[in-house]
C-alpha cells in the first residue's frame, strides 16, 4: 500500500473529487494548508503598509491506496490539477506499513 499526498489549488478540489469518484476512488482525507515554493509573492496593503505574501492557500489531499492503484490515481490527479502554471502543486508518495479500520478492526488492504 502507498500513501499519496497531493498539494493542489483549492479551486481544483471539486473537479478532482468527481474524477476520482468515477474511478471508484472515494476514500480521502483533506485539509487546508499554506504553500510556499516557486510561485512568486503577492503584494497586499493595509493602511498603505505593504506586505508581501509568500504563503498561498492550497489543499492537501491524502489518499491511501493499494500499490497497483498508485499510478492511475497519480495520473488522474495530474491530469485534473495541472494548468501548466507554477503553483499547481506537487504529489508526494510515501510507504505505509499498516491500516486498521476502526469500526471493524479489519487490517491491511481489507481496511480500505
Amino acid at each position: 500500500m502507498k500513501k499519496i499526498e497531493a498539494v493542489i489549488r483549492p479551486g481544483k478540489l471539486e473537479e478532482l473529487k468527481l474524477a476520482l469518484n468515477e474511478m471508484e476512488v472515494r476514500g480521502m482525507t483533506i485539509y487546508n494548508v499554506m504553500g510556499r515554493g516557486l510561485q512568486k509573492d503577492v503584494k497586499q496593503f493595509y493602511r498603505g503598509q505593504e506586505v508581501s505574501v509568500d504563503l498561498f492557500p492550497k489543499v492537501k489531499v491524502e489518499i491511501i491506496c493499494r500499490d497497483h492503484w498508485l499510478e492511475r490515481i497519480v495520473d488522474m490527479i495530474q491530469k485534473i490539477c495541472s494548468s501548466g502554471k507554477i503553483g499547481d502543486g506537487k504529489i508526494f508518495v510515501y510507504p505505509i506499513e499498516d491500516i486498521i479500520r476502526i469500526s471493524s478492526g479489519e487490517r491491511g488492504d481489507a481496511a480500505l
Binding site: G11, E14, E15, L18, N32, M34, V42, K43, Q44, F45, Y46, Q49, E50, V51, S52, V53, D54, L55, F56, P57
Partner: protein, 450 residues
C-alpha cells in the same frame, strides 16, 4: 483602462469645486418645525443609514470567504459615493421644483438655497436638512441592493461608474416621479416607502446586470454556500431594525400614522418569516435560519409600499403571501431560467417589491391614511390598475436604463474581472486584502512578511 476610469471618477468630484462658491442664504427659522417630528426623523435618518452596513453583512455572509471584503467594500463605498452625489446633484434632481413631471429643477444644486433653519418644502414640520438626509439614505440603500446580483465577479472600477450613473439616471428620476411630484404621483400611484422606487428598481436592475455579466466561474459545478451565516443573520437584524426608520419614518412625522406604519412593518416581516420557514419546512423538511432571515427581508420589502396604507391584518396576509412566493422565485424559477442572481437581489427585492406594490392596490384603505386611497378590497379596483401601471413603468424604465448603462461602460472596459482574479478571489485580487488574516490560517503574523 482602470486608471482611465479612476480619472473619470475623480473628475466627477473635481466638478464639485466650482459649487463651492455659492453659499446658503441667511437662516430664517420656520415656525412650522416641530421638535417632536424632527426628533423622530433624525432618529429615522440614523436608522436608515445603518441599513446599508446591515445589507453589507447580510450579503457579505452569503459569499465565499475570498469575496467577503469586495461585498463590504461595495456597500461601504456606496455610502460615501451617493452621499456626495446626493448633496451635489441627486437631491435637486429628485426633489427640486418639478419640471414637466419628469425631473426636479436645479435650485438645490450643491445644497444652495438650503438655509439651516428652513422647513422642508415637502414636509413643513421638519427642517429641510433632515428631509434631505432622510432621502439620501434611501438613494444609498437602493444602490446597495443591486450589488447582490453581480456579487463575486464585477470589476470595482466598473462598479463605481455604474453606481454613479445608475443613481443619477435611474434612481433620481424615479424618485422624482413617485415622491417629488412627478407624473406617477400625479397619476395617483401609491408607494409609501419605496416598493417601486427602491425595491423594484434595484431588483430588476440587478436581474439585468446578472444577465449581462453572466454566471460566476464554476457556478454549475460547485455549490456556492454562505461562508458565514451568523454574519448574514446580524445583517438581517440590522435591516429589520433600520427598516422601522425606513417605513415609519416615511410618515415624515411622529404621529399615529408613523405608529401604524411601524406596526404593520414589524407584522409583515414576522408573517413572511413564518411563511418562508414553513414553506421550506414542508418542501424539503428543514426549517433554516437562512430561510428565516430571507423571509423577514421579503416581508419587509413587500410591506414597504403598503406600510402607510394598510391594516395590521392585511400586513399578516401580505407577509404570508410574499414568503412562499419569493421562496419559489429563488429556489425554483432561478434554477429554471438559469441566470446567476448571486445573492437574490431580484428574487427578493424585485419579486417582493412587485408583490407589495400590487398588494397595496388590494389592501389600501383611507381608514388608515386619509391622504391615501382605497384599494380593490375596499371597493376601488381602479387603484389596482394604477399600481399595475406604476409597477410596469418601473420595470421597463429600470431594466432598459440599466442595460444601456452597462453597454456604454462596456465600450470602455470589460465589466468582469479575469478568470484568474475570480479564481483568486476579489478580496486579494482587486483590493489586495484578506478578510480573516491571510487565508484565515491565523498563523502568527498571518504568514506575511513586511
Amino acid at each position: 483602462m482602470r486608471i482611465n476610469l479612476k480619472t473619470l471618477a475623480l473628475g466627477a468630484f473635481a466638478a464639485a469645486l466650482p459649487l463651492l462658491l455659492p453659499l446658503p442664504a441667511m437662516a430664517a427659522d420656520a415656525s412650522t418645525i416641530s421638535s417632536g417630528d424632527t426628533a423622530w426623523m433624525l432618529a429615522s435618518c440614523a436608522l436608515v443609514l445603518v441599513m446599508t452596513p446591515g445589507l453589507a453583512l447580510f450579503y457579505g455572509g452569503m459569499v465565499r470567504k475570498k469575496n467577503v471584503l469586495s461585498i463590504l467594500m461595495q456597500c461601504f463605498f456606496i455610502m460615501a459615493l451617493i452621499s456626495v452625489q446626493w448633496i451635489l446633484l441627486g437631491y435637486t434632481l429628485s426633489f427640486g421644483p418639478d419640471i414637466k413631471g419628469i425631473i426636479g429643477g436645479l435650485s438645490f444644486l450643491g445644497m444652495s438655497g438650503v438655509p439651516v433653519g428652513d422647513a422642508a418644502p415637502l414636509a413643513t414640520t421638519i427642517p429641510h436638512t433632515v428631509f434631505i438626509m432622510f432621502q439620501a439614505m434611501f438613494a444609498i440603500i437602493t444602490a446597495g441592493l443591486i450589488t447582490g446580483a453581480f456579487a463575486e465577479r464585477m470589476k470595482f472600477s466598473v462598479f463605481v461608474i455604474f453606481t454613479l450613473l445608475w443613481t443619477t439616471l435611474v434612481y433620481d428620476p424615479l424618485a422624482h416621479w413617485v415622491w417629488g411630484g412627478g407624473f406617477l404621483a400625479q397619476f395617483g400611484a401609491l408607494d409609501f416607502a419605496g416598493g417601486t422606487v427602491v425595491h423594484i428598481s434595484s431588483g430588476v436592475s440587478g436581474l439585468v446586470v446578472a444577465l449581462v455579466l453572466g454566471k460566476r466561474l464554476n457556478k454549475d459545478r460547485e455549490a456556492m454556500v454562505p461562508h458565514n451565516l451568523p454574519m448574514t443573520v446580524t445583517g438581517a437584524a440590522l435591516l429589520w431594525f433600520g427598516w422601522f426608520g425606513f417605513n415609519a419614518g416615511s410618515a415624515l412625522a411622529s404621529n399615529g400614522l408613523a405608529g401604524m406604519a411601524f406596526l404593520v412593518t414589524n407584522t409583515a416581516a414576522a408573517a413572511a418569516t413564518l411563511s418562508w420557514v414553513f414553506a421550506e419546512w414542508l418542501d424539503h423538511g428543514k426549517p433554516t435560519i437562512f430561510g428565516a432571515v430571507s423571509g423577514a427581508v421579503a416581508g419587509l420589502v413587500a410591506i414597504t409600499p403598503a406600510s402607510g396604507f394598510v391594516t395590521p391584518l392585511a400586513a399578516i396576509v401580505i407577509g404570508l403571501l410574499v414568503g412562499p412566493i419569493c421562496y419559489m422565485a429563488v429556489s425554483r424559477i432561478k434554477e429554471k431560467l438559469g441566470y446567476d442572481d448571486a445573492l437574490d437581489a431580484f428574487g427578493i427585492h424585485g419579486v417582493g417589491g412587485t408583490v407589495g406594490a400590487l398588494a397595496t392596490g388590494l389592501f389600501a384603505t383611507v381608514a388608515i391614511n386619509a391622504a391615501g386611497k382605497d384599494g380593490l378590497f375596499y371597493g376601488n379596483p381602479h387603484q389596482l390598475y394604477v399600481q399595475f401601471v406604476a409597477v410596469l413603468i418601473s420595470w421597463i424604465f429600470a431594466g432598459t436604463m440599466t442595460f444601456v448603462i452597462l453597454k456604454v461602460i462596456g465600450l470602455f472596459t470589460p465589466l468582469r474581472v479575469s478568470n484568474e482574479e475570480e479564481e483568486m478571489g476579489l478580496d486579494a485580487a482587486l483590493h489586495g486584502e484578506d478578510a480573516y488574516g491571510y487565508g484565515d490560517m491565523g498563523l502568527e503574523g498571518q504568514g506575511i512578511t513586511g
